[in-house]
């Protein structure tokens, strides 16, 4: 490390390379962990990394997609900004799925990619790709650095933008000459960007209007989403729910914002949510949406969505107001600030008769669906019973990560989330292959917690190479593979809506236990019900990463279901004839 202290100016700066400045800037932002993969255009930064390994740990994944999903898992459980390093060209393009996933699920990330030297930009140089252009629609902000002197200020802006307001991914592309070149380095955190308003100021008049609607409502209903988790407002939210006495249902990303055991938590919304939560949407007289965005998987047919109800929307992003659903009162701002103001103005109430209606619907769902899922009498194993055993063993005290598909819906429906930030799943983008790397990142971000991945046989094989990364870090991720030898969710739709024409959904799978063992990870396969409980216990007791494969019955379907284009009140509990 060559460095000269420059004292000619008043301020104390040091003369260092751009690459070194990248590392020092990251350290100044409190970054302790980076996920990445080296390559030609980012080699100076990787070289500088060697001088900062006392402060920054780099985790070498097996693919850039593995790096970014790991950073997402890390960010989601820790609340910190996830940091990713990748090279130019294919390195950068391999990040794009993760960037798009982080954008739609509002995950704070700073991705740093190497770029060819500035004089070569636009010349179709080796491994040159326009990653700024490619990532523009799926980043909150991006920037191409061509001069070393830009590095500290742009990195400071990147972190500020990624984590403030509605969080999101930021991509910084650094030309190789800027990594090699020198600058007088000093670091100052960014505290304001003139053109950017991260948090609208709470409007007290709107909060008053919202409180009046709540105080008048006979059948009010709360819908909550990830906004509560992103705003660290779980306590403020619980206080609001408890004073108002209003039943509260969650979107998939809101899952761990309120303990599932809370008496006012009535369940999950949407296509594979609960029965009561969907039908009551069209019976309430007031909808209070908090930190959620009325995704089509939550609303079903918009024309027949809660037309009878007045609507309040608490939201940090003004662009979400009236985007899908027109609301009567919008309360802009950070829910951490707006919820306590609202709680102060509402009357303490209970809505027992209204909540009783949820319970009645729950009973119907239990008899028709849940009992068969959790306590099956048929021979084949169900995903539901695996989750039930995990609940019994962990008491809900674990971080659960999923991939995408049937197992994801079963897990969100049945796992007994008790702690905040305890669920990591790809919600908006539905990215198969997300689970394994995200679980690894989650374990790195919360090493003291039990981290359990629930994954299907399809999604696992999209990023299965990350078993190698897990073996290298020895992070004790517990992997539960729900193997039904099919792309189960697609197969379910084919069964229900495409006349059982199973087009390209059968998978001839490898021997997963041998694969896991080949990667140095201990594994076990469960074929029959009597073996399941002990196998789960063995997995949890094992000190290190562990791979548990469970043979799941092929035709284990997810219900209830709001079919595409149907209204939430048309939620079905079993296949229709």
């Amino acid at each position: 490390m060559k460095e000269k202290t420059n004292t000619t100016k008043q301020k104390k700066t040091i003369r260092i390379t751009g690459a070194d400045a990248v590392m020092r800037s990251l350290a100044s932002e409190g970054v302790t962990t980076i996920f990445g993969y080296p390559g030609g255009a980012i080699m100076p930064i990787y070289d500088a990394l060697m001088d900062h390994t006392d402060k920054i740990r780099h985790i070498l994944t097996r693919h850039e997609q593995g790096a970014i999903h790991a950073a997402q898992g890390y960010a989601r459980v820790s609340g910190k900004v996830g940091v990713v390093l990748a090279t130019s060209g294919p390195g950068a393009t391999n990040l794009i799925t993760g960037v798009a996933d982080a954008m739609i699920d509002s995950t704070p990330l700073v991705c740093i990619t190497g770029q060819v030297a500035a004089p070569l930009l636009g010349s179709d140089a080796f491994q040159e790709t326009d990653v700024i252009g490619i990532s523009m629609p799926v980043t909150k902000w991006n920037y191409l650095i061509t001069k070393p002197a830009e590095i500290p200020e742009i990195i400071a802006q990147a972190f500020y933008i990624a984590r403030s307001g509605r969080p999101g991914p930021v991509l910084i592309d650094i030309a190789k000459n800027a990594q090699f070149g020198e600058l007088d380095f000093e670091y100052h955190k960014c505290i304001k960007v003139r053109s950017y308003v991260p948090k609208p100021k709470p409007d007290h008049k709107k909060i008053r209007e919202a409180a009046d609607l709540i105080n008048q409502a006979k059948k009010p209903y709360i819908l909550f989403g990830q906004g509560i988790i992103l705003g660290n407002a779980e306590d403020e939210f619980r206080a609001f729910v408890e004073k108002s006495g209003i039943p509260a249902a969650w979107t998939i990303l809101g899952a761990s914002a309120l303990s599932k055991q809370h008496p006012l938590n009535v369940g999950m919304l949407g296509m594979h949510g609960n029965y009561s939560t969907n039908i009551k949407t069209n019976e309430c007289d007031l909808l209070i949406a908090i930190g959620m965005r009325f995704d089509d998987r939550v609303t079903g047919d918009l024309k027949r969505y809660a037309n009878q109800a007045r609507k309040i929307h608490l939201e940090i992003d003004p662009a979400e107001i009236n985007k899908n659903i027109r609301v009567d009162v919008s309360v802009l701002g950070d829910v951490k600030e707006t919820l306590p103001l609202l709680t102060r103005l509402i009357e303490k109430r209970s809505h027992n008769a209204w909540i009783e209606g949820f319970r009645k619907a729950d009973k119907i769902e239990y008899d028709k669906v849940i009992s068969k899922d959790l306590h099956p009498t048929k021979e084949g194993l169900t995903m539901g019973e695996v989750i039930r055993i995990l609940n019994e063993k962990t008491k809900g005290d674990a971080i659960i990560v999923t991939d995408v598909g049937q197992h994801q819906m079963v897990t969100s429906r049945y796992f007994a989330f008790t702690n905040k930030r305890s669920f990591v799943t790809s919600g908006g983008l539905g990215t198969m292959g997300f689970g394994l790397p995200a679980a690894h990142g989650a374990k790195i971000g919360a090493p003291e917690k039990e981290v359990i991945l629930i994954v299907g046989d399809g999604g696992l094989q999209m990023t299965i190479q990350e078993l190698g990364t897990i073996n290298q870090t020895q992070a004790a991720v517990k992997i539960v593979l729900m193997n039904n030898k099919y792309l189960g969710m697609v197969r379910q739709w084919q069964q229900l809506f495409f006349g059982r024409r199973y087009s390209e959904t059968y998978l001839l799978n490898p021997d997963f236990i041998k694969v896991a063992e080949g990667f140095g990870i201990k594994g076990k396969k469960v074929l029959h019900r009597p073996e399941l409980e002990n196998a789960v216990q063995d997995m949890l007791d094992f000190n290190g990463p562990y791979f548990l494969e469970v043979n799941i019955e092929k035709e284990d379907n997810v219900f209830p279901m709001v079919p595409t284009g149907a209204s939430v009140s048309e939620v079905i509990l079993e296949p229709q004839k």
């Binding site: 252009g133 523009m136 629609p137 200020e153 100052h188 955190k189 505290i191 960007v193 985007k323």
Partner: protein, 197 residues
């Protein structure tokens, strides 16, 4: 650039009408792309687009004309305003703004020399001659699109060698200057760093 349905943009077919969107932004590379992506993604055609300096130093103004429903335009404008480098975005119907476009026509000078007719046409349409050369004459017309298209029709018999027109520029009719007030509050420094002057 004419609307697909052939109307002049002021009609109200399917609830669609012309909207002038004004966005004020920092002067950064790539921002034009960021803004147009918002339209492309929603399959909305941009009728015209003008990028210019604004009355405030260092701040650029995008003036974009689209023909769509108020609902769609409202959403697009909030997505534009959401961009980190955009300070404010507004939308206005045609009757809420005073707007003009400029058109240039290049015609053979022969027509000008051979009679008074072309000169009369130019006068009648309130256009003016910018330059006369032995081979060609350049005529300028500032006004509404319908006006310069009408002139274009009238000039066709003299053989128009080149025709080009600009995007719309517009100012609001409202007496309140919302953006100027907003900007005064926002201050002149684009990025603020902790402990740095």
């Amino acid at each position: 650039m004419a609307s697909e349905n052939g109307n002049n943009g002021n009609g109200n077919e399917n609830g669609k009408q012309n909207y002038t969107i004004s966005a004020f932004s920092e002067n950064h590379i790539g921002l034009l792309n960021r803004i147009t992506i918002i339209f492309t993604r929603r399959h909305i055609n941009i009728e015209s687009l003008t990028v210019s300096v604004s009355a405030i130093k260092g701040i650029h103004k995008f003036t974009i004309v689209v023909n769509d429903t108020r609902e769609k335009v409202e959403q697009v404008v909030s997505q534009i305003e959401k961009l980190v480098e955009v300070l404010k975005a507004f939308y206005h119907t045609d009757d809420e703004v005073i707007y003009q476009e400029i058109a240039l026509f290049k015609v053979p000078t022969k027509a000008l020399i051979e009679g008074d007719e072309l000169e009369a046409t130019i006068r009648k349409h309130n256009a003016r001659i910018l330059e006369v050369r032995p081979e060609y004459t350049v005529i300028e017309k500032t006004g509404y699109k319908e006006e310069y298209l009408e002139l274009f029709e009238a000039l066709k018999k003299y053989k128009v060698l080149q025709f080009t027109s600009s995007g719309r520029v517009a100012v609001t009719r409202s007496g309140k200057e919302l953006f100027s007030n907003y900007l005064q509050e926002a201050g002149e420094v684009t990025v603020v760093y902790e402990g740095k002057d």
